[in-house]
């Protein structure tokens, strides 16, 4: 009996190698790519996707999905930003509202899916549209700019990036990402919340019969997803100058695609937070790198779609092989 799958067969490791290979490829082909500023912009672009991917890993592991995270992100950011810029709320209060909204929408998704037993993809497709509408209504259809770095109230932007006196930019956001991944990996692997999330994705009925309050933990998976979409909203507001209503559709694909490339099974039960992190970087590298080799940025959308299908196909082939043996 083989004890644990060999380290090289692990999807995480393979994907990590792909990330390195992609980075090396773009660096060799394009001199402009291998610059500090490019790395900075890759990281800037990655934060909100990484955060969404960490969150959506939980509903994916339960065998569901959360499609509302992309438009949700924009909606939460618009709501918080509106209160700060138009109503003169302190930035901290705006941030709290942003996070609270994420938790509320996450709870709504969770209740609809877990307690009312609606199909997850359709339910979250609806909340995706609803949050899109809400976002535009909050902002009255106008783009909103959170306070700029350096200005009063712009302190929150320093959470993700510090500019030293000499003008060098330090991406401390990346350290936060690592820290959050460690915390959430702990939650997934070493707490009841994580354990039951995996158990629900593995066999919901058997978990229920073991006396676990599956409804509560199932809801929690979506609450986590909503909360992280809100964290992503904070990161997005901090990195980008303006938040436009009506955008955000498509962000969820990058996050869900990243998670699945990183080893989350589309049929539930399997997944890791660190895998999702690595998977997201495949997508971020493609997104940033393709224009440097002369392809339009839109190719990234096509390639992301194909990579996602490819990742799921690999998963299906693996499962078929396991069934034969």
């Amino acid at each position: 009996m083989k004890k644990k799958s060999s380290i090289f067969a692990s999807q995480k490791v393979i994907v990590l190698l792909v990330v390195i290979a992609l980075f090396a490829f773009f660096s060799i082909v394009s001199p402009n790519f291998r610059q500090y500023s490019t790395v900075m912009s890759i990281l800037d672009y990655s934060y909100y996707i990484v955060l969404m991917a960490i969150g959506v890993t939980f509903p994916l592991i339960t065998g569901g999905v959360d499609l509302s995270i992309g438009t949700g992100l924009i909606c939460y950011s618009l709501a918080g930003g509106y209160l700060i810029t138009q109503k003169g709320w302190p930035v901290a209060a705006g941030l709290i509202v942003t996070l609270l909204l994420g938790i509320i929408i996450g709870t709504v998704n969770g209740v609809l899916v877990s307690i009312m037993e609606l199909p997850p993809f359709l339910t979250t497709l609806c909340t995706c549209m609803i949050t899109r509408g809400l976002g535009s209504i909050f902002s009255k259809g106008f783009g909103i700019s959170w306070p700029a770095a350096g200005s009063e109230g712009g302190w929150f932007r320093n959470i993700f990036k510090i500019t030293t006196a000499s003008g060098t930019k330090i991406p401390i956001g990346f350290l936060w990402m690592i820290l959050i991944v460690i915390v959430m990996a702990f939650v997934l692997n070493h707490t009841k919340l994580g354990r039951y999330t995996i158990a629900i994705g593995s066999n919901k009925e058997a978990t229920r019969l073991s006396g676990v309050n599956v409804k509560f933990y199932h809801v929690m998976a979506y609450v986590i997803s909503g909360f992280f979409a809100a964290l992503a909203a904070v990161a997005y507001s901090a990195v980008f100058a303006t938040v436009q209503p009506g955008t955000g559709a498509g962000f969820e694909l990058e996050a869900i695609g990243g998670a699945i490339i990183g080893g989350v099974s589309a049929s539930g039960g399997v997944g890791s937070v660190e895998g999702s992190l690595i998977g997201v970087f495949v997508i971020c590298l493609l997104k940033t790198g393709l224009p440097y080799i002369g392809l339009q940025a839109n190719w990234q959308q096509i390639i992301t779609g194909l990579v996602l299908i490819g990742a799921v196909m690999v998963d299906i082939i693996k499962k078929k092989k396991a069934e034969v043996h």
Binding site: V65, L67, L112, M116, E117, L118, P119, F121, L122, T123, L125, C126, T127, C128, M129, I130, R132, G133, L134, S136, I137, G141, A249, G250, E252, L253, I256, G257, I260, A266, S267, Q296, N298, W299, Q300, Q301, I302, I303, T304, G305, L306, L308, I309, V312, M313, I316
Partner: protein, 323 residues
């Protein structure tokens, strides 16, 4: 109540559909009372413009949902079809008729792609939808170099296709749409394809063990959907002229809403084309009404979302009661 349901005429038409018709009429009256000048032909024609393309999307997705699957790439694929064929028309100067064929072909190919992955590779439909949604958006942007495309006006020679939508104020589109609905209904209820699509949505394994090639028929449902989405694109540009790359997903929900409101079950196996048609009219009227009342159009997104949730929940409850 039970008595009314048992009435043979009511039974024949379907109780739910009668209720939906009632809702449609009530909505019309409500909008006419609350909004000045709503009553009358112009508003109806405007609502119908919306109903055509949405109707074709909804008819298409009905087949997919009947198999127990889902396709929410339909909106972006419709835009992709309209953009690619429109670009061929405006930038390459291909004849209009050929461009209409190209539009249908694009939809058809996406249908094949989705159906093949779902039926033969057992990739979960939501993953396939997500992927092809982005492929469609990306492809359209790459093809048109991220430019919007405006189809020719009715007065121009190449604009003859608009006669498919409207001649003077006669709604030709309505005739075509209803004819398409009748064909879809025949297809779903009176042909082998429809029989197998509905049956496999209800119990795929039993149908397979009856010696039916279930993969082929399941794929066909997506192909039918894709083709109808290609046709929807023609009616979209016929009514609204300009298409922009990167959009289209707002129509997914409305199309699915029309479908599930009409009594098609998300669990598969149960579908009603008649219901879908009425559902589409309700959504279109709602859109027009919100426009007329001057309400922020974003409320429509929210209302449609809520409608889908309520309709699906009703279906879940109905199924639970049956078991």
């Amino acid at each position: 109540m039970e008595k009314i349901k048992q009435n043979p005429i009511v039974k024949k038409i379907g109780f739910n559909r009668i209720v939906l018709c009632g809702v449609l009429i009530l909505m019309y009256i409500l909008f006419s009372v609350t909004s000045k000048g709503f009553a009358g032909l112009p508003r109806i024609l405007s609502a119908l413009n919306y109903a055509y393309f949405l109707g074709f999307l909804s008819l298409g997705v009905t087949f997919v949902i009947a198999t127990g699957g889902i396709d929410f790439s339909i909106g972006p694929v419709m835009f992709c079809a309209a953009l690619i064929s429109g670009y061929c028309l405006t930038s390459y100067g291909l004849p209009t008729a050929l461009c209409l064929v190209i539009s249908i072909l694009v939809g058809f190919l996406f249908g094949c792609f989705n159906g093949y992955l779902v039926a033969y590779w057992t990739v979960p439909p939501f993953i396939v939808s997500m992927a092809s949604m982005n492929i469609a958006k990306g492809l359209a942007s790459v093809f048109t170099k991220t430019q919007s495309v405006s189809w020719p006006q009715a007065a121009e020679a190449a604009g003859w296709f608009r006669k498919l939508v409207k001649v003077g104020s006669f709604p030709v589109g309505l005739v075509i749409f209803l004819a398409a609905a009748v064909i879809c209904s025949l297809l779903l209820n009176n042909t082998k394809a429809g029989r197998y699509i509905l049956s496999l949505g209800s119990n795929k394994e039993a149908v397979r063990l009856s010696g039916v090639n279930v993969k082929k028929w399941e794929m066909l449902a997506y192909v039918i959907c894709g083709t109808l989405v290609g046709i929807a694109a023609i009616f979209f540009v016929g009514a609204y002229t300009t298409v922009q790359p990167g959009y289209g997903d707002q129509y997914n929900n409305e199309a699915i809403a029309g479908c599930v409101m009409g009594g098609t079950s998300m669990a598969g196996g149960l579908a009603s084309i008649g219901g879908t048609v009425i559902g589409v009219f309700i959504i279109s009227l709602l859109q027009e009404g919100i426009l007329a009342l001057g309400i922020n159009k974003n409320y429509q997104l929210i209302i449609t979302g809520l409608i889908v949730i309520v309709a699906v929940y009703a279906d879940v409850v109905a199924r639970r009661r049956k078991n």
